[in-house]
């Protein structure tokens, strides 16, 4: 994909992100925060590629660190969001 196409995706996604969040009741601020925090762990995708490539020790180490950190972010984020939301559910 060329740079302009990437830029176009970037801009469209920013607009979409802005429009998605309109009125959120305060109760949901924390879960929304932790949930979108988990989503920003998408960097795990980049980490996987870095860790799985065949390019020297330093890169492997950095890749490993990236995978560990991103996985904590993703797994921890989604689970904790779920835990919080479970508390709101009406019995």
């Amino acid at each position: 994909m060329d740079f302009v196409a990437e830029l176009t995706l970037f801009v469209l996604a920013i607009f979409l992100g802005v429009e998605l969040i309109t009125k959120v009741p305060p109760t949901l601020h924390t879960p929304l925060m932790s949930g979108s925090n988990a989503i920003s762990g998408i960097t795990l995708v980049g980490a996987l590629i870095a860790a799985g490539s065949d390019a020297g020790l330093l890169v492997k180490v950095l890749g490993f660190i990236a995978v560990v950190l991103a996985t904590i972010n993703v797994i921890g984020g989604f689970m904790v969001t779920n835990r919080m939301l479970a508390m709101f559910k009406r019995k």
């Binding site: 992100g17 989503i39 799985g52 330093l58 797994i75 689970m79 709101f88």
Partner: protein, 460 residues
């Protein structure tokens, strides 16, 4: 097995759609659980398909990393106390920033021949990733009370920040013409890490949730920058999605506190100078009471409003409170809860706690609904709340919390404040409410006090 980039990109598109639906779901109470699931599914799709990417030649490091990270993640999510949620989010967010930083670093040291755009993107990912990483850890430390929650700074701090930021930009510019210099790279990393620390230090602990939401937005932007480095559409789309939505969420949170974002980020230090003498406010005007006396008051009451605050969480008094409310209702008293949007230490904190104790949802009234009813309220029981009831926010223009909307408990016929001492709340301010004519202080641990009142009620 390896598949063509086309199919990977289509899978990324599906993941992006799931993220969009997920974020949208998370903004409404009814769909929030499903939204979180959808977002999780999107992440699974994106990760699984990435494992088939042609650049991935060995899986040992990946598996090891996922195992280590996964175990830590599960443990953190399971063990954390509900009260410690803001810290945890700060921590997780820091990890995300650190990951983006590491990805950009790995890509840098892999030593391809990136074009100008690639280098600038690498620089941006390093800069923003590192700021997010260290900034989030400072936020974590403040919330966990590893360091003082008060705004901290030194003369010339703003100048130092400007120098660090400028230096980082110069370093990135240098890398554009000399892409291979590790020294400059690490210099950039260190400057950015310092910048993260210095940016969060001067912000008061009470504003940390906003800061975390902002840093969350940054971590999205960092992921997006990493996407430009690797030419990866999943990172670009998802990162900017989170970056933008995080920024809007930040603004919404500021609005709920009646503050501007600039005021949160830079305002506190300016106003920190003024200190108010506690003695002047309280001296000779505090009336202490006992559980029995409060029970007698409640016996003749028709309408009681319970105002929970951070102290309720500290004392783990949510179940005790519900029992008190049950007892009152059995006596025919009308009981409601007044939920301030920033009561406690995170948005929705009180809702979570009271939901845990199975308090019925419709008894939780938000600020705008309950405020007009205090005048018809016989007894308002303030339970470990402080700042959210402080009339200075309404009346004292010089006060640091001036303008924050508060619960007008002082309009009730009688106010009973349950807390352990006269010490201040999160904002560090004395509370004139405690000295009012219609206020009675019930000193003691929140849970114990409530249990005592309930017992006295049942006896009487």
């Amino acid at each position: 097995m390896q598949i063509s980039q086309n199919w990977i990109d289509i899978a990324y598109l599906i993941a992006a759609v799931l993220f969009v639906l997920g974020i949208k779901g998370l903004t409404k109470p009814k769909t929030a659980v499903r939204g979180n699931m959808l977002a999780g599914a999107g992440m699974a799709v994106a990760c699984v398909v990435t494992l088939l990417h042609r650049d991935i030649v060995s899986y040992e490091v990946i598996i090891a990393g996922i195992l280590v990270g996964g175990i830590i993640g599960v443990l953190l999510a399971k063990k954390v106390q509900m009260t410690a949620m803001p810290q945890l989010v700060a921590l997780l967010n820091g990890f995300g920033g650190g990951a983006s930083f590491s990805v950009a670093a790995a890509e840098f040291f892999r030593g391809g021949h990136p074009d100008t755009v690639g280098i600038i993107a690498t620089g941006a990912a390093v800069l923003i990733g590192a700021v997010t990483f260290t900034g989030s850890f400072v936020a974590f430390a403040k919330l966990q009370e590893l360091i003082d929650g008060k705004p901290m700074g030194f003369p010339g701090m703003k100048a130092a920040n400007a120098v660090l930021l400028l230096g980082s930009i110069v370093a990135i510019a240098y890398l554009v013409s000399n892409p291979g210099s590790p020294t400059v790279f690490w210099g950039l990393a260190i400057a950015a890490a310092l910048l993260g620390i210095l940016l969060v230090m001067p912000i008061g602990g009470a504003d940390m949730p906003v800061v975390i939401a902002l840093l969350n937005s940054y971590s999205g932007v960092a992921a997006s920058a990493a996407g430009f480095v690797m030419g990866n559409s999943a990172l670009i789309i998802t990162g900017s999605l989170v970056g933008a939505s995080g920024l809007i969420l930040t603004q919404i949170m500021c609005k709920a506190m009646n503050r501007s974002l600039t005021n949160v980020l830079f305002g506190v230090m300016a106003e920190g100078g003024e200190t108010i003498d506690q003695d002047e406010v309280y001296a000779g005007k505090i009336k202490s009471t006992s559980a029995d006396e409060v029970a007698m008051l409640l016996e003749t009451a028709q309408r009681v409003v319970i105002v929970p605050g951070f102290g309720l969480a500290m004392a783990q008094a949510q179940h005790a409170v519900r029992e008190l409310a049950d007892t009152l209702e059995a006596n025919g008293v009308e009981v409601e809860y007044a939920i301030h949007p920033v009561a406690g230490r995170m948005p929705g904190h009180m809702n979570v706690l009271l939901a845990e104790a199975e308090v019925s949802y419709d008894k939780l009234k938000d600020m705008d609904t309950i405020n007009p009813t205090f005048e018809q309220t016989d007894v308002a029981i303030v339970l470990g709340a402080n700042d959210v009831t402080n009339p200075m926010a309404r009346e004292d223009k010089g006060s640091p919390i001036y303008g924050m909307p508060i619960l007008n408990v002082d309009k009730a016929k009688t106010v009973v404040v349950v807390k352990r001492s006269l010490s201040a709340g999160f904002a560090g301010l004395p509370n004139p409410l405690f000295a009012k004519d219609n206020t009675l202080m019930l000193f003691g641990d929140g849970k114990g006090a409530v249990v005592d009142i309930t017992a006295a009620l049942k006896e009487g």
